[in-house]
């Protein structure tokens, strides 16, 4: 009896050890792999030795840049812009500006592509992007199959509200109605100072397409906005200070930003409006005049490696656009509205397109905006 027991004990031990091995092996297999670039790309990049980046100032965590320099011994030279229009104007006047990497937003990318200054990406040098980009990315109208840009994140417009002043049980929460028609919050609302966003989301609220160029629909939005204007404290694109100092109670913002507001002030909640919103990405692109193309590909592949992308996403608080980092971000962050929206919700969102950005759509939008600010 004793011997049997002993044997079985030993067996149990063996089984345990075996199980541990199996489990570690299993867990290794589920951990997301970092696919390195091909030899020739790496060699060429190191020969080039430099990388000219032209991107937003003080947005991505500094660590990401310094780690890249340390890892690949490539020197990064950065130049910054403060708005989409800055770099678009620059490239409009000199299409061959010598930058290797740029980080435009959706609207900027559409303009840059229309100006014909983007270089086609070499997918063989971007294994991480090939493995981890979600399928729906390949169907975006302005960049089919991700020929010219690799989106690093996604963004959605919504609003933040302060539970101290706005009743959590207000039935309008979860809809644009609270922001566009919250009469009792007069003088406590901030709207983004962005023509396309404010008008487009107004269209969404009224049940039309974000990109509508139908004049009647646009006129309805004009009426909505002129009625809303007395309620608005300011048209402010960076309302952080106003939100945190509790001057603004309802604030139109990128939903990702509201996550960071809530970390500093715990009564802040974010809302991803049920009517839908604009959906956009921040892609990395390589301009035609790039003097160091291999280093640029190396950089894109580095940003798309699961660990770096997760660090980036957690650093900026925007929605991950990466099969691995969608799993790897913290549980707390996953629960925030707009981090990982459902497929159904994504159907309701729209990407900005030519109807809004050119021709009559643009003209009427501009007229509305100029009239609103008179």
């Amino acid at each position: 009896m004793y011997s049997i027991l002993k044997v079985s004990k030993q067996k149990v031990l063996y089984i345990c050890i075996y199980l541990i091995f199996v489990m570690t092996a299993f867990s290794w297999s589920t951990e997301f792999k970092d696919y390195p670039v091909t030899e020739d790309c790496l060699k060429q990049a190191q020969k080039e030795g430099k990388l000219h980046i032209y991107d937003w100032a003080e947005w991505w965590p500094e660590e990401i840049y310094t780690n890249f320099e340390k890892k690949y011994k490539i020197k990064i030279i950065r130049d910054n812009y403060a708005s989409d229009d800055e770099y678009v104007a620059k490239f409009k006047l000199n299409p061959n500006s010598p930058y290797d990497i740029m980080l435009p937003s959706t609207r900027g990318m559409i303009q840059l592509k229309a100006l014909g200054i983007l270089k086609e990406l070499n997918k063989k040098w971007l294994p991480n992007a090939v493995h981890y980009l979600p399928e729906e990315n390949k169907k975006v109208w302005y960049d089919l199959e991700n020929k010219y840009g690799i989106p690093t994140d996604r963004f959605f417009y919504g609003y933040a509200y302060n539970t101290k002043y706005v009743d959590v049980n207000d039935p309008r929460i979860g809809s644009w109605a609270l922001l566009y028609e919250g009469r009792e919050f007069k003088g406590r609302i901030t709207m983004l100072d962005e023509m396309f966003v404010v008008i487009g989301n107004g269209l969404k609220y009224l049940g039309y397409s974000y990109n509508s160029d139908n004049e009647q629909e646009l006129m309805q939005v004009r009426d909505l906005l002129t009625k809303q204007k007395p309620l608005v404290m300011a048209y402010e694109s960076w309302p952080k200070r106003l939100v945190l100092e509790e001057e603004a109670w309802l604030s139109n913002c990128w939903v990702g930003d509201s996550y960071y507001y809530s970390k500093e002030l715990n009564t802040i909640r974010g809302v991803l409006p049920k009517e839908g919103t604009e959906y956009g990405t921040d892609p990395l692109v390589i301009p035609k005049g790039a003097p160091h193309p291999a280093a640029a590909h190396l950089w894109i592949n580095y940003i798309m490696s699961p660990k770096v992308n997760t660090k980036l996403i957690m650093g900026i608080g925007y929605s991950p656009n990466h099969k691995a980092s969608q799993e790897m971000v913290s549980e707390n962050f996953k629960k925030w509205p707009g981090t990982i929206p459902s497929k159904d919700y994504l159907e309701k969102c729209e990407v900005i397109n030519a109807k809004a950005m050119t021709g009559r759509g643009l003209e009427v939008r501009s007229e509305i905006w100029e009239e609103l600010k008179k």
Binding site: V88, K92, A114, T190, F196, V232, Y235, E236, G359, E370
Partner: protein, 306 residues
Amino acid sequence: MPDYIKTSTKKKEGGKPAEKQSNGGVFPELIKYLGPIITIQLLFVLAPLVIILLFSLLQTGAYGKIIYAFTFDNYMKLIGGGYGMVFIKSFFYAVQTNVMCIIVAYPLAYYITRYGKRWKMFFIFMIIIPSWTAYIIRLYALKTIVGSHGIINNCLMGVGLIDTPIQFLYTPFAVSVGLVYTWLPFMVLPLFAAMEGLDSSMWEAAEDLGATPFRRFFRITLPLTRGGLLAGSILVMIPALGDWLVPYLLGGSKVMMAGMVVAHKFTTLGDIPAGSCMATALASVLLLILYFAIKWGGREALEQSL
């Protein structure tokens, strides 16, 4: 105006002796003396203006692509686009700023010159110092002072004068205050210079002859500082008319001044020709104002402002 006053304020005529004396032709002499300044003027003043003017005559394609083809469309749109209100509003703000600046700066300059004594330079220095920091930083500083959780509101609430903070930011009033705050030094300095040039014995003479303070001011001080007043007005009104940061930062971007429409065209619409057209129109209006100011104020105004 008595004759002795006229001669005392008259500046020495500079003339151009170099031209007259030279016997190897005027042109080489001119190049020798004026070459550097002409180069700078051409490169940094004239060339940008000409570029803006040229851009304003070009067409725009989809996504703001510049089409290099000549057109007057932008100007036609400008005339028919209902920008009258924007110009009038900007003009109103500029004039208002100017008047407020005069009201604040005139007594200030007067008291500094008359009663400043050895502290004179120190006071002037204190007026100039804030303009050493960037304009945008000063505006942000002003924002923290007057915001609803700013110093003024906190003090008033601490003393118990008010219960809820006064909403001051993002009102038209804030825009006016911001404009006056930003451009005040440019009014004080020419006025100060004009008053420094005044001979104090004239006041004494007027007093001896029995002029009342009121009369003294209107017969002596004001006419003799007219040049400084006009120079200050040029320096304040022109930038105030084109200003767009103050309405943007302190006005919550709820009101578009002319400068902001230009920025809107350039940035949001990405329409460089239309923006250039607006800028050209704005610049022409400013030139017109400058022309009349100099015509009415004479050479004094120009000399004081340089």
